[in-house]
Symmetry: D2
Subunit: 374 residues, 4 copies
């Protein structure tokens, strides 16, 4: 990971974020315990039996682990030891791939490991951005990093969708997480969904009209959070001499007005939608309409709680803890972000966070009800 | 309120519960500010302008108010003053009812005030039960109080429902809260829902098989809550000499095995459902099937997050804060409980609490997917 | 307690303060368990064995008790029951006093009970003032209550004291608490102590010169406390339209400039003393000089930590927990206050509180080093 | 610092401890801002003006600084940059030492910088031990490290001291901190002080007799702390299969019974002293008798609060914040520990910590009152 200095591998901004060294160790551990162990069964032997304590994230079935908030305090194993660990696991995976026993089940398990690692590539970047932001004086991650890629991301206009029964979710055959299935029917009323995301300019207008000061627009829990945390603007926004800047991975830069707003919580997204008399789409509305708009620069908050689809089946084995046990208290985000690895997401992908999370590259798209004959 | 001593009117067990005197003052205030003021408009004059500070619950639009946790610390106005306040408001309401201007709009507003008061009658009872439980030595509220009324509440057996498009919610004309509408279509897969609620005997089995000790059954947030709060049994259960008792409004009584379990959180209900390989119903599943089972002794947790129905419109005016601003982080409960006033609830009624709440009379009914041709 | 309404008996402003009903029950309990039980020994029988749970304050040796913060949540026993409890204990005490076994030991124990009750009379008043202050709209306790009695309390001028060995503390024979003894020698450098207390006018000057804004004057812990709690003025000071008021037991009144400042923490007193280039006296300096100044309107913070005198012996029996176990983390106050019962205090009396406490009637007197030949 | 791996330089176990890299940067910063700046005055120029934000510890007068708890989250400046910083400051100091302006004032200031650095050498070791202890699996710091050096440290027997006026503290001319002066008279009653420290064997006896279970021995604050933190043994003690071990800087080793107990709080030391019917010495008693016993393996808790000596004068300039502002809520420790640099401490040295601190190498020596003619 080129732009990092050695010390950066231990940076942890809050208990909810993890240091780069941990992300590296954890992805390796996932390959060892949820992929290799799943394949090898009884003959599995760990590289170092202590590593599971260090690098298990939240798999209760796989034993005790370091407290999340203390991940940065684990200076051992050292970065070099973790890199060696990774090389050993990579070698084991290569053996598996070239082995005579390679069957579709093994490939599926490997694919889960790879997709898991892609998720942590994104988390590494967002966690590390948060750690950098807590350094004084706005250090630069990578001067060439672009947080805005789609020049039309905040395009105006509406897409109309008729009421009716639709199919959503997927049964494959392509890779997907358990939470994306099964495919199932939903009934939707007629609705419109905006072509583009809300821009920084629009968000500034919300701020100037007192959006953060008037409780009318907010959920009760959202307002309590905003008061408690003294939230006045999106995360990483900085005001100097009356001018707004944002801390990005490339610099502290003047706020680009046409870019999609980012680093907002669900609470803020909801307040914005009410302020302008509209609403957030549900995840079903988003999925059904998604081919008609472009997405990918921001994870888009929906007004859907993260719940199981009808007929949902968790993975078997330790991977059952991957998704299902988080299906309460969280909201669904759809799309992808500029931090998501190429090709990682898809139209049925369900990302989810607690409604106060802000350090992912989040954004919002608006929706409204329409009458069939409008 | 007959069984109370004067001092009991100030009992507040936690910041989330309220003292009886406050419930009385608040319901009166609601009639004054959300009913009478709505009707009188500009000519409205408050009985005592300080009372809004004391008795406003959470209406941001109606000005500042005492911190929720401090309600019990407000010894003034005294109980006698609050009773006088109530008499004055009752008199004003009577005048309105007999007035020449009585139109359907006024009656609707009054009906909201009455339904609001019914909700607080239930909350008074559950909040006060919690306060009594925190007294030492289990004081009796009312020796004649029955926490179980329906002798068949835990009946066995399943009701089957076919897949298809159903209508749920209501547009009236009978009284209903804004969150129950509009009526709308939903598509449901085929499912079965149990005829009765889970009993104390069944819950004991869950406990004996380690239900509270094995994280596998729990949501991640639920397990963290259970560990933090050291939850080992439903609220108000007490073990003495190997025997289980429950603290009820009539006594500390031996646990009645056939009665429906109560005072459980959503987290516990979910864990139970997973332990027995089933699931909680959604609120749609509950509503569609409700005529085929009896309900009313317990509020039943569903696996539905409390979210707006498609096309949801909040009340106008200050009452808009009644329901809509709570539509995040909470789970829906359906039915009614032995603490609900007669006739208060109905099949479209949506009760809601955070998933860790236990001091309402909560319970659970199970559901499962079925294949059409089973 | 005349100015109280029934509900006031349950008012508790913070976990550190207690409701009036509890003070009444606790003083009664103290007579029962630390006086009558000490005298009766094995034949002692409690009026109601539950009462110890309710009214034990902090005597570990006398068994479990309600959590301090929950005292107000105990609506039972009712005020009437507590009053009956008191009458029964009063009757028992009367029997003891008229009994044939009346010996000096019994009288000593009774005297401890009486002095204990006097302390709670003062605490009742200060705790209740705090509870009243948390009511909205500044209710009046007693329009005739005077918080300033000595018209010369803030007299100017210095008293000089020579260096040398002095005796401090007392061995009796008059009543004194264990922590006032034994009498012992201390060596003091020469010092001067001010004749009067710091006035409100002087405190205003401190505030106007940035006393609460400049960390230079403060202890590190004091500054952290001031920042955390956002302290900007003494407790109960209120600013309206540029004018300062204080909430007193008689009214919200314009700040009397010549009266001694009150309701300040040790941290604030210390900061003030440094701001004016002086210091607080030690308790030895205060005691040695006390006959040369008048005291009694305010408890005066000293710069002495509350520690045992050389040769200190705790009481025997349960009363050993009365004083000794608090001899860490607290600072000594000397004198008395307008809330102290007549004749309760004396020149060797050692009051003590944590350095952040403000709701007693606290004040400060200044001191400075002098050179023998000044 | 030989035994450290690169990553170890960022280890921070709690907000009260600091990472090794921070200790290094802070000592360098102290030389730059409190030594070089003090000498150079107006012509002073900082190496990097950002470094003061990173490495200022608690000097309010020297501007804003990173929150203490976030020191480990500062991955920048990197270890290499901090090492370069140190080399530059070392070079500047060398120039000063060889300069023509070298006067006694400069040497005094330098001496403060050196003594400050010695304190951080000790803190580095104790903070890092704490960080190592939070790693899983007890990593070894240095297999050759000896935590016990004096074979007679727990010698039995008493030293008697007569009552009278004694001189304590120092005015120099040798280096001493401001808090050690001025020398002044104290009057002491006759007392005895133990020749040796309390041993691990003796502490085990205290534990076996219920020392941690009986509130009688404890201060009220101490007992609350012990209950809250679930303290059952000294810090770093580990029980396996009924056998006690201690985590030392050399290994997890069987508890050496004759060695002085260490890593105990003041609260525990006090409880122990009461359990055996004795007491802790005051710092005056310790200082007056110190030539008659050996000390140096453990910092010894005294029963003296950390308060200014009569006539105490703080340093001038920013160094005034060095000691004086901590003179509340802390207890004095005397002696030195095996982590103290050779020659750093002396008989008048006053170390101080909050009464709950345990990760310094603390211990205790006992005292008792004697009657002159015993």
């Amino acid at each position: 990971m080129a732009p990092l200095q050695e010390e950066d591998y231990l940076a942890q901004s809050t208990f909810e974020a993890s240091p780069p060294k941990w992300h590296l160790g954890h992805c390796t551990w996932f390959f060892e315990y949820l992929v290799i162990q799943a394949i090898e069964g009884a003959k599995f032997q760990a590289i170092d039996e202590h590593y599971s304590y260090y690098f298990n994230s939240y798999y209760e079935a796989l034993g005790p682990r370091v407290d999340r908030a203390a991940r940065a305090s684990l200076t051992r194993p050292s970065l070099n030891e973790v890199r060696e660990y990774r090389q050993k696991i990579d070698a084991k995976i290569e053996v598996l791939l070239n082995g005579p026993d390679l069957d579709p089940g093994i490939l599926d398990t490997l694919e889960l490991g790879l997709n898991h690692e892609q998720q942590h590539q994104e988390l590494f970047l967002t966690d590390f951005k948060k750690a950098l932001a807590q350094q004084a004086f706005y250090p630069v991650y990578d001067p060439g990093f672009k947080e805005d890629r789609n020049p039309n991301a905040t395009e105006k206009g509406w897409i109309h969708q008729q009421s009716g029964i639709y199919e959503m979710g997927t049964n494959g055959p392509d890779f997907h997480f358990d939470n994306e299935g099964p495919q199932h029917k939903v009934y939707l009323n007629a609705y419109a969904i905006s072509k583009g995301l809300v821009s920084n300019a629009e968000w500034l207008e919300f701020m100037e009209e007192g959006g953060y000061q008037k409780p009318d627009y907010w959920h009760s829990d959202g307002w309590a959070w905003r008061m408690q945390e003294k939230i006045e603007a999106p995360l990483y926004w900085v005001q100097k001499d009356g001018q707004w800047y944002r801390f990005s991975l490339s610099s502290l830069e003047q706020l680009p007005l046409d870019s999609p707003v980012t680093h907002i919580s669900f609470y803020e997204a909801y307040a914005y939608s009410r302020w302008c008399g509209l609403r957030l789409p549900t995840e079903a509305e988003w999925e059904i309409a998604n081919k008609q708009f472009s997405w990918g620069d921001r994870w888009e908050w929906t007004n859907s709680a993260y719940l199981p689809y009808p007929g949902y089946q968790e993975y078997e084995g330790p991977a059952r803890e991957y998704n299902g046990k988080f299906m309460v208290n969280q909201m669904v985000l759809r799309g992808a972000s500029i931090a998501s690895p190429e090709g990682h997401s898809r139209e049925t992908y369900r990302n989810f966070f607690h409604p106060w999370f802000r350090w992912q590259f989040t954004g919002l798209r608006l929706a409204k009800d329409i009458h069939q004959n409008e």
